[in-house]
Amino acid sequence: MSTSIREPLIFDYSRTGRGATAQWVAEEAAPALPAALRRVTPPALPAASELAVVRHYTRLSQLNFSIDTHFYPLGSCTMKYNPKACNSAALLPEFTGRHPLASEKHSQGFLRCMHELQEMLQEVTGMQSVSLSPMAGAHGEFAGVAMIRAYHLARGDVDRNEIIVPQAAHGTNPATATMCGCVVREISVNADGDVNIDELRAAVGPRTAGIMLTNPSTLGVFERRIEEVARLVHEAGGLLYYDGANLNAILGKVRPGDMGFDVIHMNLHKTFSTPHGGGGPGAGAVGVGPRLVPFLPVPLVGVEKRAGGEHFRLLTEADRPQSIGRLTGFMGNAGVLLRAYVYMRMLGREGMSRVGEYATLNSNYLFARLQKAGFEAAYPERRASHEFILTLKRLAAERGVTAMDVAKRLLDYGFHAPTTYFPLLVPECLLIEPTETESKETLDAFVTAMSEILREAAEKPEQLKGAPFTMPVRRLDDVRAARELDLVHR
C-alpha cells in the first residue's frame, strides 16, 4: 500500500505570469538596443514561485547520496569529510565579494592565503614551486604535460612527444597526453601490481617526453621500484609526472619530489578535502621540481618584502616569460583553494601525516576483513595503500553476480558503491577507498552489508540483478538513454 511520490521537472511548476517576483528588480528604461540584435521570443525558462523553486531543489537534493549522509568508499575519489569551517571561511563576504581583478590594496588578505597555500603544497609534495591555477585534476595534468613539452622544446629537444602511461592509469592521463598533442604509449603492469620494468625499458628512448604515474598506483599498491622507474626515464631524457589523485595515501609519509618526480598535480578536492559538489568544482594545483619552474602556468602569487611587511601580488607572463601561459580566465578556482587552505591550516603539520596513516589503516583493515568475509583480493600479496581492489570474477563466473550487481545492492544497504570496473585491467573489480575520516564502526557495518550481499548472491543471485530496490528509481536503461537522446526539456 505504498504511494510513490516523484519529483517533477522544474518546468512543470512553471505557468505564464508566475515568477519569484521578490527577485525582480525594478523595470528600467534602458538604452534601446539595435533591432537586429534584440531577442524576439523570451527564453523558455521556468516561471515558478520562489517556494516552488526552493521546494523542488530541496527535494531533489534529498534524492542524492553524499558524504554528509552516507559512507562513500569510492576508490580513487577520496570521499572524506568536508569540514564545514572550510565552507564558512570561503564564503566570508569579503572573499565572495572580491573581484578577481581587484587592486593589490584590496587583495593582500586573500593573496597571503594563496601564497601560504603554495608553500604548504610545496612542502607536502617536496616540490620546488607550485601554481594554483588548474581547476581540476585533469587540468593540472594538462599543465604538467604542457610544461614537460615546453621543457623539451626549450632545450631544442623537439621530437619528444611520447608519454608513457601504465595500463592501469586513470583515463585522464592518456586523454591529457592527447590534449597536449602527444602520443600515448601504454606499458603493462605485472601480476603483483608493479609496472613491468622490461616494457618500460623497451619503451623509453629519444622520443620519450615523460611518464605519467600515480603512486600508490590506481591498483591500490605502492610502486616499489619507483626509484628504478625514475632512473630509467630520466636517463632516457624523459621527465616524471606524478598524478596526485592518490596523495592521500602518502601524505606526510613519502614525498613525490623525493621519489624523483619532476611534476605533480594534486587533487585538492580529494586529498585536501574540498567538497566534490556532485561533480565539481575541484582544484588541480601543480607542483614542479627545479627543471620545470620557469614553465609554470600563470598567474602565480609572488611576495616582496616591503617596508611595513610582506606585499603579495600576482605574477604574470611579464614576470615569467617562459611560462606555458594562462590556463584559466582568472586564477583558478579560488574559492576551492581557500577551502583547501583552511583545511591544511586546521590539520597542521601533525594532522597532515596522520592523514596518510589513518587512511592506510582504514584501508588495510577493510581489506583484511573483507578477505576474511570471503571476497577475493586482486593483489592478495600486497599491502593495501589507502585503497584496494577486490575482484568478483569468481562470483560472476559461478553465480552470475557482477561487480555492478553488488554495487547496486550496496545502495539498498545505505552505502554508496565503491568504484566499479576501474582500473579496467582487473575483471569485475571493486576499488574501495574508505578514507581516514570514517570510523571503525562504519567500516564494520560495511563489512556486514558486504557479507549479507555475499549470502544473497549464494541464495538468490537472480534477485541481486534487480537491485537497487529502495532508491528513488530502479536500475536505469543506459542503452535507451544513449539511443533515444532526451537531453533537454521541450
Binding site: A30, V40, M179, R224, G278
Partner: protein, 457 residues
C-alpha cells in the same frame, strides 16, 4: 585528531585484524630511504575557532570596496535561496553521479540545467559544464576542428575584441594540438569587429570564427553579418556570450541565417559570487548533430526497470574514462556545484527576472558612462551600442588613477593598457543592477577629486 575518529582501542583492534604491529608497518613496502621527514614547513594545526579568526582577519584586510570592474566577472545580486540550497550537504558533498540511482538529485538538476542553458542560448543541446568561460572557448575551438571535417587548416579566427584572457587560454591550451588562432582587428571608432576586417580571409580556409557578444569592450557585435560570412565559406561559428545579456539579445542559435554552431560562455553571472575568479562554470551548447563531438558530461532522461522516468549520464563514450586517449577532452571533474547555483539562479529569475536584471545593468552602466564622461579628461572610446561595459579614455595614465581610487575604497575598472596599448590610457568600466545611483555619484565625485588634485598638484 581533527577529522579522524579513531580511538586507541580502535587502532589496536584494527591492527590486530590486519596482523600488523603498528600503523607504521603498513608502509613497509615503501623504500626506507624515501620516507619523509616531518613536514617542518607546515605550521602547527589550528582549531576551528583559531582558523576562523585568522580568516576573518584576512578577509577584513581586503574589505569590500565599491567595485566597477567587470572584464569577465560581474557583480550581480544572488538571491539567498541559491546558496542556502547549493550548500546543502546532499549537493555539496556528493560525488559525480556515476551511480545514477543514488544521484537522481544531481542528475535531474543537470538535465534541468541543460534545458535552461539550451533555452538561453537558443541551441539544441548542452553539456553539464566545463571549467570556465575561457576553457570552454578553447574546448569549443578543439570541437570545431573535430566537427568541421571539411576544413583542414585548423585555423580559428579570433577577434581582438574577444576577452584577452580567453585568447590567452586558447593559445596556451588548444594550440598544443596544432590549432592556429588568428587575430581579427576591431574598428577603432565603433569598437566592433567589422565585416571588412575579415576580408583577408575571404579566400582562405577557415575552420571556425569566434564571435563574442557583447565583446570585451562591452560593445555589441553585428553577429548576423559575421555569422553569415563564416557559414558562407564553410567555417563554423563559435559564440562566446554573456548569459545575462541573452535575456535581451538575440541568442546564438538565431544568429544570421543558420545560427551559431557552438555557444560557450562563463556562467558566473548566473548565481556565482565573484570569489576572486572562481569557482565559476563554463557552459557549452551546440546542435544535436554535433553532440558526439561535445566535451564534458551530458545527462539524458531515460526509464528504469519499471519504466519510470529517471536520469543518467549518457554518451559516455565521448569521455576519458571510457575512450581514454581518444576522448573528446580530458575533462573529468567539472564545476558541478556552480552548475547547481546557475540552475537555481536561473529558475528563480525566469525570463522576466533575468531580462529585468539585464535592462537594469544597461541602464546603470549608461548612467555610469554619462557621469564619468561628464568629467573633464574622461571620454568614451567607442561609438557602438553597448551592453553593460564601456571603454573610457583618460587624459593621463590609468594605473595611478586606479590606485588613488583604490585608496579611497573604489575599484574603478580594468586598465586596458597591457592588452590594448594602441588605445592609450584606456579603462574598462562596468555597472550592474547592484550599483546604485548613489554609488555612481560617489565614483564620479571621487574621480573628479583625483583628476583635479593631480592636475593642480
Amino acid at each position: 585528531m581533527p577529522f579522524i575518529p579513531h580511538t586507541e582501542a580502535d587502532v589496536s583492534e584494527m591492527l590486530a585484524a590486519i596482523g600488523a604491529p603498528s600503523i607504521d608497518a603498513l608502509f613497509d613496502e615503501i623504500p626506507a630511504n624515501l620516507r619523509a621527514a616531518p613536514l617542518a614547513g607546515i605550521p602547527p594545526g589550528l582549531n576551528e575557532m583559531q582558523v576562523m579568526q585568522l580568516m576573518r582577519a584576512r578577509a577584513r584586510q581586503d574589505g569590500l570596496p565599491l567595485c566597477f570592474i567587470g572584464a569577465g566577472a560581474y557583480d550581480h545580486f544572488i538571491p539567498s535561496a541559491v546558496w542556502a540550497i547549493v550548500t546543502r550537504g546532499e549537493f555539496y558533498s556528493a560525488y559525480t553521479p556515476y551511480q545514477a540511482e543514488a544521484s537522481q538529485g544531481t542528475l535531474q538538476t543537470i538535465y534541468e540545467y541543460q534545458s535552461m542553458i539550451a533555452a538561453l542560448t537558443g541551441m539544441e543541446v548542452s553539456n553539464a559544464s566545463l571549467y570556465d568561460g575561457a576553457t570552454a572557448l578553447a574546448e569549443a575551438a578543439l570541437m570545431a576542428v573535430r566537427t568541421n571535417r571539411k576544413s583542414k587548416s585548423a585555423r580559428i579566427l579570433v577577434p581582438r575584441a574577444v576577452n584577452p584572457h580567453y585568447r590567452a587560454v586558447c593559445a596556451s591550451s588548444a594550440s598544443q594540438q596544432g590549432l592556429k588562432f588568428e587575430d581579427v582587428a576591431y574598428d577603432p571608432a565603433s569598437g566592433q569587429t567589422a565585416r571588412s576586417a575579415l576580408a583577408a580571409w575571404d579566400n582562405e580556409d577557415v575552420t571556425a570564427i569566434v564571435i563574442q557578444q557583447p565583446n570585451f569592450f562591452g560593445t555589441l557585435e553585428d553577429v548576423d553579418a559575421l555569422t553569415d560570412w563564416a557559414h558562407a565559406k564553410g567555417a563554423l561559428v563559435i559564440a562566446s556570450v554573456n548569459p545575462t545579456s541573452l535575456a535581451l539579445l538575440k541568442p546564438p542559435g538565431q544568429w544570421g541565417t543558420k545560427g551559431a554552431d557552438i555557444a560557450v560562455g562563463d556562467g558566473q553571472p548566473l548565481g556565482c559570487p565573484l570569489s576572486s575568479g572562481g569557482p565559476y562554470f563554463g557552459f557549452m551548447t551546440t546542435r544535436m548533430e554535433y553532440v558526439r563531438q561535445m566535451p564534458g558530461r551530458i545527462v539524458g532522461r531515460t526509464v528504469d526497470l519499471e519504466g519510470r522516468p529517471g536520469f543518467a549520464l549518457t554518451l559516455q563514450a565521448r569521455e576519458q574514462h571510457i575512450r581514454r586517449g581518444k576522448a573528446t577532452s580530458n575533462i573529468c571533474t567539472n564545476q558541478g556545484l556552480l552548475m547547481v547555483a546557475g540552475t537555481l539562479y536561473t529558475a528563480l529569475m525566469g525570463s522576466e527576472g533575468l531580462s529585468r536584471v539585464a535592462r537594469a545593468c544597461m541602464a546603470r552602466s549608461d548612467e555610469l558612462v554619462k557621469a564619468l564622461t561628464a568629467l573633464p579628461g574622461v571620454r568614451a572610446a567607442f561609438s557602438g551600442a553597448r551592453f553593460h561595459e564601456a571603454v573610457l579614455l583618460l587624459d593621463r595614465p590609468v594605473a595611478p588613477v586606479l590606485q588613488a581610487l583604490a585608496e579611497r575604497g573604489i575599484e574603478g575598472g580594468f586598465d586596458l593598457g597591457k592588452h590594448y596599448p594602441e588605445l592609450g590610457p584606456a579603462l574598462l568600466v562596468c555597472a550592474t543592477e547592484t550599483r546604485s545611483t548613489d554609488d555612481i555619484a560617489l565614483y564620479a565625485s571621487t574621480l573628479r577629486d583625483i583628476l583635479q588634485t593631480a592636475r593642480t598638484a
